[in-house]
Symmetry: C2
Subunit: 89 residues, 2 copies
């Protein structure tokens, strides 16, 4: 199996992937959430939970019921990482 | 002070308003989240936390730091109620 994408934790029962993202301001948080919604619709992979406030977003991704955690979830996590604003923006 | 809008609980320290909304399917959840983002931008009132999954959204609204809970938060909560899809949709 591929390595766990940068910054994500593998946790819990049922197995899940978790990461917290922090942003400098609400505009960045909002842009990230909108991009995440588009990624969810494109991939059909819906995070089990998304928890956000003005400048943070916590994401929990579970494997589909009865399935092992695998490339699908790892690939999704890696794509979520790529949605962050570029450093310095 | 106006009555607490329908379905909301007043809780905690610092005082906050909380409500859970449930939806029949992700499309409804998504439409509600998008409308909530627009309401947040229109009013400048950012919920302290929004926690969602495929078919639910939990919202916590706090008073501004140092301010009492009041008409502003109650009015926001009432407007959030109005964002739900009409029954049967």
């Amino acid at each position: 199996m591929a390595d766990l994408p940068e910054g994500w934790e593998a946790r819990g029962t049922p197995p899940n992937l978790f990461r917290r993202f922090e942003f400098a301001r609400y505009g960045e948080t909002r842009a990230f959430l909108d991009a995440l919604a588009a990624l969810t619709e494109e991939t059909g992979l819906h995070p089990q939970n998304i928890n956000f406030g003005t400048t943070y977003v916590n994401i929990t991704v579970e494997a589909a019921e009865g399935a092992a955690m695998g490339e699908r979830e790892y690939g999704f996590a890696a794509r979520v990482n790529a949605l962050r604003p570029a450093a310095g923006n």
